[in-house]
Symmetry: C2
Subunit: 221 residues, 2 copies
Amino acid sequence: MGISNHAGAATGTRRAGDRKSGIMARIAEETRFQLQRGRMLKAAATCFNEKGYSGTSLKDVADHLGLTDAALYYYVRNKEELVYQCYLRAAELGKQAMDRARTEGRCGFEQAFLYVRYHVEIMVGDRGPVAIMSEIPSLKPTHRNEILNVSRQHSTGFEEILAAGIQDGSIAECDVRMTGNAIMGAINWIPKWFHSDALLAKKVVAEFPKILTSGLRKNES
Amino acid sequence: MGISNHAGAATGTRRAGDRKSGIMARIAEETRFQLQRGRMLKAAATCFNEKGYSGTSLKDVADHLGLTDAALYYYVRNKEELVYQCYLRAAELGKQAMDRARTEGRCGFEQAFLYVRYHVEIMVGDRGPVAIMSEIPSLKPTHRNEILNVSRQHSTGFEEILAAGIQDGSIAECDVRMTGNAIMGAINWIPKWFHSDALLAKKVVAEFPKILTSGLRKNES
DNA sequence: CAATAATTTTAATCTAGATTAAAATAATCC
DNA sequence: GGATTATTTTAATCTAGATTAAAATTATTG
């Protein structure tokens, strides 16, 4: 099994090219492969969000890339894995936003605010779109559990931020679980009504963090 | 085409029973038919929310009712229409909540608060679950447009409430469009994490209205 | 440029699950 | 209780779209 065979590396084993290519070549290929793969995941996210899951065939995704449906199988074992990869990517982007917010925020409130800011920024920006996780239940058990786990961790992470904010006095007493659900829900729903629009994107980034966290502030002070 | 043939009435025409039954009978049938139909829509909503759209077959829905998949076709022309009906029901319930809130609320803020309260109450209560509208794009054009229209009206209605609240001074200046998107998103996302749990339901009803509208209040007073 | 590996396409299958027709059962009416 | 309509089931089809194998094309390397 050749390390240069990306289909194999990415999806298990399909072909079995075996010669090793030079290191420069490998890096180049890796890049090319990963680039296409990334484009594919974006295209898939776009389709899933805009046409619904059942409404998007692999051909739809392929069309976005100027490819044939069959070509997608070079990057992904099957449709289930395509969805899984989209969700994984979505989770990673969310995590990046939260990590950054945690690092930069000086108190709970600020961290919550920044998290919303960064996550929304990613969702409506160039790194988006991010796939709505509508079809977790139809993932195969391994994948489903992995996605559920990272999702849970993400939620927990945000609740921790809220709890910290209550501790440090920057956030008013509240049910962190429910508050987390509310804020994350509003964020997760964005792809439902937002579709690639630079102007609107600016507004979203400007407004959402304010709107979603204005209720967290302590009344007096 | 007999008026007593519900399959015909509901889905177009399949069989063509023609004799007219007595009025009492008709009422009784209507009731029975509608009851089963209602149960079916609930079962479908449950399945779609919990198993995802692609993950739920008509058999899954039928199992919930102790029926055969084929039996569903007595109530609905096809799967597309089942989804459509679910969405229509979801829209109606949302509208009921908003109408009631508008009637009872004495100012914009109160109306917004009550809307959240009533809608959430319905979603997590006995009249739920309400189907997440994930697959609007795969509805056939007529149905899709109808659902999109009522959704738009619903959004607009909420924005009007917010605008009224700003006018009457009960709500602070804000971008009503974004604020509406945020609040409605949080509500629409509920079925993603809430699954029939009386205890949790109480908490949701108690917390969500507060959480989602606390940011609307004017700072000073 | 020849050789090898990477990527994509062409052209079939394959299949779950939707859909349908006809028969069977249950309900209701006179 | 027999007749008529309403509801459900049984047992096949039917089909879009996923999947695959093999061939063709394109890129890369020395």
